[in-house]
């Protein structure tokens, strides 16, 4: 049997009903979350009972630059135009009872993935300790849950904003910093800041997408699921009520298609979660385009996270291009260099050059590598900077050992390592 389709008018009713339902469910969900947090959560228990406390506002102009390469005041804003040693510290002396405030809102401009922003504070009770919370990575600042790290305790005597990384030719503009007590507005602001906080692809991105930073009040998926469940519960109740009073005009108009309303609610909640992901994806696309857009294949690889290793490999390939399928061994000196650089070099060198062995270099193993291979890569920043010192040491060590007289001759080097070819002469 074919179902009756919804007319356009019925669809509008369905869409409207699901929006009303979801709005009501959203209000209930937020109230339920606030109730849960202020009564059962360790971080926020009792924070709802502290009475009315006005937000505490500091404009950018009230801060002073404790460390920076260049700052200026523009109206009520403090503008950092240059960093000093990759950082700027903006400071303000104050006296704040931490129990009065649980959330912080920072209005700033110029925050980007290459520029980490932290809030630091010192307390009267622990004058030598420095505590901090990381700002969510949002373009115009955002909200911070100060209770997240369990260090927002005592009386704060000094607040600082630390900016670290690369301004990328832009400026960091601090407009204002505002402290809030627990409330629905700050809670919603913090949730959205946490869910929208951006962090570019990392190596573990292929394993999981968390969708929120560690220590977030609630995951967006859990929140959306609860939101949908409450909406469906409300729909069930409304349908039940409607079936009781069938005679009224209202009953004839509303909730004629509860199944369609449920489906629309599901669609809207799914869309809400998906929009968060699309926002991430869009920002990631911009990031990727900024890093690799408009470059040639070689330039793109040179712009990647291991550019120096790639360039060393490229030079090595050119240097060995006259040989027939050259192979080599790759040595590192410090255990900390065991991964990932050697594997990355192996990857860059293929298919023209094959790294047949990767190992740690020491005096005893040197002879083995020299007798077995024609080329040696040594991945070490010291060796890269001063390759002749290494070949002098190696040649000296080899002089008295082995059946062959072998000499290391430098082929290429850069700041991360060097490639040596091994010249052998049979002893008479």
């Amino acid at each position: 049997m074919k179902p009756n389709p919804l007319t356009d008018r019925e669809f509008l009713f369905v869409a409207l009903e699901s929006c009303i339902l979801l709005a009501a469910a959203a209000c209930l969900s937020v109230l339920a979350l606030a109730y849960y947090l202020t009564n059962f959560s360790e971080d926020f228990r009792g924070t709802g009972d502290t009475g009315v406390i006005k937000p505490l506002l500091f404009t950018g102009a009230e801060f002073r630059a404790r460390k920076s390469g260049g700052t200026l005041y523009e109206g009520k804003d403090l503008v950092v135009s240059q960093l000093k040693g990759g950082e700027a510290i903006l400071s303000i002396d104050t006296q704040i009872a931490t129990s009065d405030f649980q959330f912080m809102h920072i209005d700033a401009e110029g925050i980007r993935p290459e520029l980490k922003t932290f809030v630091f504070w010192q307390t009267m009770e622990n004058p030598n300790g420095i505590f901090y919370a990381e700002m969510p990575l949002l373009e115009n600042g955002g909200w911070v849950n100060l209770r997240k790290e369990s260090v927002w305790r005592g009386t704060v005597r000094n607040l600082e904003i630390g900016v670290f990384g690369d301004l990328g030719g832009d400026v960091f503009r601090l407009r204002e910093l505002e402290l809030h007590k627990f409330g629905i507005g700050p809670l919603m602001g913090t949730l959205l800041s946490e869910w929208r906080s951006f962090s570019p692809w990392s190596f573990s991105s292929i394993n999981a997408r968390r969708g929120f930073p560690e220590g977030t009040i609630v995951s967006p998926v859990v929140a959306a699921t609860l939101w949908l469940l409450i909406a469906l519960l409300l729909l069930g109740v409304a349908t039940l009520v409607r079936s009781v009073s069938v005679n009224g005009m209202r009953a004839r108009l509303f909730l004629r298609h509860p199944g369609a309303v449920a489906s629309a609610s599901l669609f809207i909640t799914w869309l809400a979660v998906h929009l968060l992901w699309l926002e991430f994806l869009t920002r990631q696309s911009l990031e990727t385009h900024e890093t690799f857009g408009g470059l040639s294949a070689r330039e793109r690889r040179a712009a990647d996270w291991d550019s120096q290793y790639f360039l060393l490999s490229e030079n090595a390939k050119r240097s060995l291009s006259t040989e027939d399928l050259p192979s080599a061994a790759l040595l590192y000196i410090h255990d900390s260099d065991r991964e990932p650089s050697p594997q990355r070099v192996l990857y860059h060198l293929l298919p023209e050059v094959l790294i047949e062995s990767i190992g740690r270099l020491n005096e005893e193993r040197l002879e083995y590598y020299v007798s077995r291979f024609d080329h040696l890569f040594v991945l070490d920043k010291e060796v890269g900077r001063n390759p002749s010192a290494f070949s002098d040491w190696a040649n000296g060590t080899l002089t008295n050992t082995g059946a062959h007289e072998s000499t290391l001759r430098l082929k290429v080097n850069n700041s991360v390592g060097a490639l040596y070819s091994i010249e052998r002469e049979t002893r008479r």
């Binding site: 292929i206 997408r209 995951s219 293929l350 023209e352």
Partner: protein, 493 residues
């Protein structure tokens, strides 16, 4: 066959440094040529596969299903060509690859057949008539899908090989195949026995002539599209365009699926594709009446097994479910009883050996010893799993399924569909297979992460990636069940 000796001559294509050699050609032109070659390397086997599926006259299929299955056949053809080129010692030259692709296609023309034997027709579509709101909704869903695909494609084209195991394990192995012009890798980089990923990589490099080009990752994006198309086709046949587009948009919205397409190089998206394809083929028609479907199903399962170790387990779980379902539908009660009894005896014997009542140690010619004991089970030269039982990590599963944003709301949707199923007296053929396949695979994952890779569930490294195999199918079947209930409620009203 003569032992293979690599030589510079066999690396006939000096164009590995294409950009440096073609000094007269601008960087932009080189990139355009490489991109065009990459697109051709994907489209050629895909079109061939699509043509073969269409030629087999599987009439009940929508073009989307045919296209999705076409890419699976395309991958099978690519795999065959590369392996045969190696077996014949020809080197991975485009001419030989093309010739063997042609040969594979001719073989498939005969194997798949050209006519659909008389059998059950596919269920008629019960799509809703289309008033304007449906057209608007469809357009919006299409826009969502397009935005998702475009964002991922941009990443594929611009980002050099990024994800860890890609450049650490998979691609160095494939690049050694290219270096040796044979399926030989003297330096072991890949601990997984899977080969499909590397064979696809070899195919792409052989056509594009650039071993490190981002364009070589296009097949991963094609796998993503094929998964989306198969999800669309499945729902389109049952409930029309809007339901299909919703399902398609939901599958195309999965963040971890995006990640595996955008940061291409891992094998998991291929296991997902073969899983989805196997279900798409098997759940809509009575399989045994369609030879072409049976062949595609077998190819999907074999490719799934060859993709990575986890694919072997997934394919086995899927195979057992499919065999069980078809036996349930086709066998007489007596035979069915015998089959069930045999299955209980075999699995009971296996379990008893694992529990230590005795141990099994059989020699399988060509493979090695098949061993089952309290310490583990496996086949000597193929795989061996050590048993390390650990407590069930409920929190890790909760995070992976419900807390993390890998699947949006797919888990609640699937749970809701299971609840709806409980209220229905009898499941249709097209619902039973995907539901059971998803549940069986989830069970296999739980067993694996509890008894074999104990502890690794909490790291989220394998668990989330394993869930990727089943989530698109879980969404597809959940959407189908919700649509069924929705239509039933419409009929009532």
């Amino acid at each position: 066959m003569e032992p293979y000796t690599p030589s510079r001559e066999k690396l006939e294509d000096k164009a590995y440094f294409l950009s440096s050699q073609l000094n007269s050609v601008s960087v932009l032109e080189v990139r355009a040529i490489t991109t065009l070659l990459g697109i051709f390397a994907v489209l050629a086997p895909w079109c061939l596969g699509y043509w073969l599926i269409r030629r087999a006259k599987v009439r009940c299929d929508h073009w989307s299903t045919q296209l999705g299955l076409g890419w699976v056949l395309g991958v099978a053809i690519v795999t065959f060509s590369v392996v045969m080129t190696d077996v014949l010692g020809l080197g991975f030259r485009p001419f030989y690859l093309a010739s063997l692709t042609g040969l594979a296609s001719v073989l498939l023309v005969f194997v798949l057949g050209t006519e659909s034997p008389p059998g059950k027709e596919a269920p008629k579509s019960t799509s809703l008539p289309t008033p304007q709101w449906i057209l608007a909704l469809n357009a919006f869903l299409l826009l969502l899908i397009t935005v998702s695909l475009a964002s991922v494609l941009q990443e594929v084209f611009q980002r050099p090989s990024y994800s860890w195991d890609t450049w650490h394990s998979w691609e160095p192995e494939g690049l050694q195949y290219i270096r040796n012009q044979a399926l030989l890798a003297s330096v072991q980089t890949n601990p997984n026995f899977g080969v499909v990923t590397n064979l696809i990589q070899v195919w792409m490099i052989s056509i594009t002539k650039t071993p490190h080009s981002e364009v070589n990752h296009l097949p991963w994006f094609a796998a993503f599209i094929a998964i989306v198309l198969l999800s669309f086709g499945h729902l389109r046949a049952l409930y029309g365009n809007t339901a299909a587009l919703f399902c398609c948009a939901a599958v195309a919205s999965l963040p971890l699926l995006h990640t595996h397409a955008a940061l291409a190089g891992y094998a998991d998206i291929w296991v997902t594709l073969f899983f989805v394809a196997s279900i798409a083929v098997s759940c809509r028609v009575t399989l045994l009446q369609k030879r072409a479907y049976l062949i595609v199903l077998l190819l999907s399962l074999v490719l799934c097994m060859l993709t990575k170790r986890a694919g072997l387990a997934v394919a086995l779980a899927l195979g057992v479910v499919l065999f069980g379902c078809f036996a349930w539908e086709t066998l007489a009660k007596k035979s069915l009883l015998m089959l069930v009894s045999s299955a209980i005896v075999i699995s009971g014997g296996f379990l008893a050996a694992l529990l230590g009542f005795y141990s099994l140690d059989w020699n399988i010619p060509g493979l090695g010893q098949f061993q089952v004991s309290t310490s583990g089970f496996g086949v000597e030269n193929l795989f061996y799993y050590n048993l390390k039982p650990a407590p069930f990590e409920a929190e890790a599963y909760f995070d992976a399924l419900l807390t993390f944003d890998n699947w949006h709301l797919a888990t609640p949707l699937f749970l809701a569909s299971l609840a709806l199923i409980a209220t229905q007296p009898r499941l249709a053929h097209g619902e039973r297979i995907p539901i059971l396949a998803v549940i069986a695979t989830l069970l296999v994952l739980v067993v694996y992460f509890t008894f074999i890779a104990s502890g690794s569930a909490t790291l989220h490294t394998g668990l989330d990636r394993s869930l990727l195999y089943v989530m698109p199918s879980a969404i597809t079947v959940s959407t189908a069940i919700l649509c069924k209930s929705l239509i039933a409620s419409f009929v009532k009203t």
